[in-house]
Amino acid sequence: MKMIAVVTGGAVIGGDFLLTGCKNPESGEVSMVFSEENIAFLDEVAETILPQTSTAGAKAAGVGRFMTVMVNDCYTKADQEVFHPVSLAAPVELLFAGRPDHVAGDAGFFLELADAGFL
């Protein structure tokens, strides 16, 4: 999956841990700030993995926002740079399109994350 620049702006999550490595959005470089749109996207990804059933799903648990806290605070800068483009690389439905519950060994979103050391 090719790395692309992500949308910038929006609230910074985990305000205590403002990233010192944040790059200038005008320069076109990768931003290290999650927007509300990013969070909504991550919610959708998480909800696809852990959907609402008889119990609440990932979105209701606020997993998208939680992911941004973990990425902002716990990932190394190098890992953040990998995660940011990945996190907005494609529409959610494309990420999971046609996947059975158990994904085979084809290259995909999960494997991308796995390769980057996130899983």
């Binding site: 119990t55 973990m70 716990c74 994904v103 995909g108």
Partner: protein, 561 residues
């Protein structure tokens, strides 16, 4: 009595200091107990004692900011979000490593008794006689019979749960009922015993968690396994739950937090200590306190640091340095090595709660009459069996409702064991006071020159291979052995810097933990240890402290101090 004068001063309030304060106050002495850090009140200050993992911002993990701020603590498990404020700041308390030494410290009232692992084992004459028999370092001045009644005493008060096993080299004690091994552990134990013809053993760990209510304590253990956040039930032994309330009950205790003891005040005319000098960590003022006896229980390395700074006008290397052994013979245990694997079956079996304890495999190498290995001493293992949790399925890259359901089921059984090896006392493994580096209060810090040597390295080969062999013999599948490497200090069992001995020319302390050069100063923490055994040392500090306190009071009564 003036408000700066006491019968006894106890420096440090951890496992050893708490015991010293309890024993001395109960015997009628007016005691000042100092701690260099902040106060933590039992229950009141256990902010996270009921906090579930999901309420931590990072689920109990570590952030990059924490990793930057804690260059020492990050080397092992103590760096996490759960009880970080109970591990001292690496920034405020630096030290110098000529060779790597991971020093994990708790600078607050209660010290590491709040966060300790609670495993509690008696030493035996296998340990006390080893140095003499093998010609290593010096002989211990005591034997098991000297300390056995004190083990009885401290076990009864602290509340140690465990099973009676009848092993001469790991003596049984005054135990509360043992916790139970789970079904897989029971079967593994049975198979190990059979396979090795009853020459290797595995049983439930002996732990300072109450399995029954005992006098002076609130409640038995609730099997929550978040002990190191502080227990609202007071169900594990620590200063706050156990020795401090006992000492306070006498009305004889004064506790002074924020008090860095910077030296023992030595009177060269009487050849005795007059008291201690204290730097108030909050206001930076210096205070003097006076007493008939001083108990140094500041943890092995800091008690040595205090001695090194004391009476330097008489002995340039400090009080107790006349033998040349002060600050030397630093010991710890070596660990981060073992094996684990899967256990087939038992899929309809589970276990009760979160047991704050594991199984124990006591030493079986180099026992009397057994085969001699290419190293001295031995090792034990701690470990356990459990079922995998939801995180096992992360690697499946699965999605959807069925996946979510699967996450709520327990996974297969795993069994793992990790070794704890004995480290020998080496004269050239030493700490000294740095000439350059200072801490936040301008006090010179310790410099470490400590390493594991050939004996430990050779032992590690056995620790790893034996772990794999034993698990496989017990029917565990896909066994993986590991040696993750270990720095001295990671055992958090620092010992040896003011060792006990029979001869003042080769030891810092005598058989009653008195400094040879200054009889009213006692050192009863890990500093006093003449060898390290392979079992967890805290129970022995308790017993030695109670024994020394008893001796000190008798000597005071005889006016010998």
């Amino acid at each position: 009595m003036a408000d700066n004068t006491f019968d006894a001063i106890v420096v440090g309030s951890g496992i050893s200091g708490g015991w010293a304060a309890k024993e001395l106050t109960e015997k009628g002495l007016k005691v000042l107990m100092l701690d260099r850090g902040f106060d933590i009140k039992h229950k009141v200050d256990y902010a996270d004692s009921n906090k579930p993992t999901w309420e931590y911002p990072h689920r109990g993990g570590r952030t990059q900011k924490m990793i930057e701020e804690y260059p020492v603590l990050k080397r092992d498990y103590p760096l996490n979000e759960r009880n970080l404020s109970w591990w001292c700041s690496d920034q405020d308390h630096p030290y110098v490593e000529k060779k790597p030494f991971g020093w994990f410290r708790g600078y607050h009232v209660g010290g590491r008794s709040l966060m300790w692992g609670r495993q509690s084992y008696r030493w035996s004459d296998l340990d006390f006689e080893a140095n003499a028999k093998e010609g290593i370092a010096i002989d211990w001045p005591i034997r098991y019979k000297d300390i056995a009644p004190w083990y009885d005493h401290v076990e009864t008060f602290a509340g140690i749960s465990g099973s009676l096993e009848g092993l001469p080299h790991l003596p049984d004690g005054k135990f509360l009922p043992p916790m139970q091994m789970n079904i897989v552990e029971q079967d593994v134990a049975k198979r190990i015993k059979e396979h090795y013809n009853n020459q290797r053993w595995m049983f439930i760990g002996r732990s300072a968690n109450l399995t029954a209510k005992i006098p002076g304590r609130d409640s038995a253990c609730q099997f929550r396994n978040i002990c190191s956040n502080g227990c609202p039930f007071g169900a594990y032994f620590g200063t706050q739950s156990s020795t401090l309330p006992a000492a306070e009950k006498t009305g004889n205790l004064t506790l002074r937090p924020w008090s860095i003891c910077t030296e023992v005040i030595y009177d060269k005319d009487t050849k005795k200590a007059k008291g201690v000098r204290v730097l108030d960590a909050e206001n930076n003022q210096t205070y003097e306190y006076y007493s008939k006896v001083v108990f140094l229980c500041a943890s092995a390395l800091n008690s040595a640091w205090i001695l090194m700074r004391s009476a330097t006008n008489i002995w340039p290397e400090g009080l107790g340095s006349s033998s040349g052994e002060l600050g030397r013979n630093v010991m710890d245990h070596h660990l981060k090595i073992g094996a684990s694997g899967d256990v087939d079956g038992y899929e309809d079996k589970y276990y009760y709660g979160y047991r704050p304890n594991g199984v124990y495999i006591p030493r079986y190498r180099n026992l009397p009459g057994g085969e001699k290995r290419n190293y001295l001493r031995g090792f034990g293992y701690q470990g356990g069996a459990s079922r995998e949790g939801w995180s096992r399925l992360v690697a499946e890259y699965s999605i959807g409702a069925e996946f979510k359901d699967a996450l709520s089921e327990p996974g297969k059984w795993n069994m793992g064991i990790g070794g704890f090896g004995e480290m020998l006392p080496y004269h050239d493994n030493k700490i000294t006071i740095s000439k350059e580096k200072k801490d936040k209060w301008g006090l010179p810090v310790l410099e470490f020159d400590v390493e594991f040597k050939e004996n430990e390295k050779n032992m590690r080969i056995d620790i790893m291979n034996d772990a794999k062999e034993m698990l496989e013999a017990a029917g565990v599948k896909n066994v993986t052995a590991y040696d993750n490497g270990c720095e001295p200090g990671w055992g958090i069992h620092e010992m040896g810097t003011a060792r006990m001995g029979k001869d003042q020319k080769t030891s810092v302390l005598n058989s009653n933990n008195q400094v040879w050069d200054c009889k009213n100063v006692f050192v009863t923490d890990g500093a006093c240890m003449t060898s390290a055994s392979c079992v967890n040392p805290s129970l022995s500090y308790m017993a030695l402290t109670a024994r020394a306190a008893d001796f000190a009071v008798k000597e005071l009564k005889k006016q010998n101090l």
